[in-house]
């Protein structure tokens, strides 16, 4: 009897490992940038190409960075959530307009609404790469010291906002 127990136990262990492995989302690659300083950038604003914004300018406040593009389908999915959140958000939401065209981006914001305090233009995607962006939309939460504290890959949902982002913002602001 016991001779079957060992293979059975091994089999169960294997099944458990497989079950865990299958339930992980391979798209969610843990970012090495969490708890690291947010990479520096200096980008022009979408609404005013003459003015530019640096990462250091945002030091001293908690802020959200949302990577978006007008060509990005999933961005449209999270857009109403962001738009609603921006009305009551205690922190500014900055957009990183990733590899987009200015007029297309403008038209997109005009059509769907603008949740962003400002959108920064990253035409060649270099700043995106510095932030380890590989799938738009992505959302970063950056603290007063300019450290990345949280990253969400994929569309932000009500649930993610309520469960992860808002509590984190409250913690960082207190």
């Amino acid at each position: 009897m016991t001779r079957f127990l060992i293979p059975l136990a091994l089999f169960i262990v294997l099944v458990v490992f497989l079950a865990i492995g299958l339930n992980l989302n391979p798209r969610e690659v843990p970012s090495p940038l969490i708890d690291k300083p947010a990479p520096a950038f200096e980008l022009t604003r979408l609404d005013d190409p003459v003015r530019s914004l640096k990462a250091e300018d945002l030091r001293g406040q908690v802020w959200l960075l949302n990577v978006w593009a007008s060509w990005c389908v999933a961005c449209l999915q999270e857009h109403p959530v962001l738009l609603a959140f921006s009305k009551s958000s205690p922190v500014p939401i900055y957009g990183l307009n990733y590899k987009d065209q200015r007029d297309a981006a403008f038209a997109w914001l005009g059509k769907h609404g603008n949740p962003y305090t400002a959108s920064l233009v990253d035409t060649d995607g270099r700043v995106g790469i510095d932030y380890g962006v590989y799938g738009v939309p992505e959302t970063f939460l950056i603290d007063r010291q300019g450290t990345i504290r949280f990253k969400h890959i994929g569309p932000v949902t009500e649930d993610v906002l309520k469960r992860e982002i808002v509590p984190m913002i409250e913690k960082l602001r207190s």
Binding site: V29, Y131, G132
Partner: protein, 156 residues
């Protein structure tokens, strides 16, 4: 016929333009280094492709950046570090040995050692079991009779 030729030529130029970044086509050494390195790097968009194979936008951008860094004279190690700073060890097909990955590296050897140990124990146990049950006198006589009967030539 002429029209066909024109179309063929047009489509050929179209293809040539679609090929990415002729920038370092002039530098085959750098290009070779890039491709060697990119084979060992994972594309984050299509995760089962290497950076060398992938034609995803991000892969093209990353290849261009690696190309620039090669031109700027950075070493392979520096370039890999630059990538892992942004995308984590996940981009490396050959994960580095460290505390979180030692099980990954040692795992197969541990399994092999476990398998060998199990085999060894089983064999020893089997041998002990066989040795512990010698034939009784009657059994031996019967076995010998059978062997003898077998050895005698079959009746013609």
């Amino acid at each position: 016929m002429k029209a066909w030729l024109a179309i063929l030529l047009l489509s050929a130029t179209g293809l040539a333009q679609a090929a990415e970044a002729p920038a370092t086509a002039a530098d085959p050494v750098a290009e070779k280094r890039l491709m060697e390195m990119a084979k060992e790097l994972r594309c984050l968009v299509c995760q089962n492709q290497s950076l060398a194979d992938s034609n995803a936008d991000l892969a093209i951008d990353l290849r261009n950046q690696v190309r620039e860094q090669i031109k700027a004279g950075r070493t392979d190690t520096q370039i890999r570090a630059w990538l892992t700073e942004r995308y984590g060890d996940f981009v490396l097909y050959r994960p580095p040995v460290k505390t979180t990955t030692w099980l990954l590296w040692a795992g197969p050897f541990l399994l092999l050692a476990g398998g060998l140990a199990a085999l060894f124990v089983t064999l020893r146990r089997r041998r002990a079991a066989l040795g512990a049950a010698p034939l009784s006198e009657a059994e031996r006589a019967r076995a010998e009779a059978l062997l003898r009967a077998d050895a005698s030539p079959p009746p013609a």
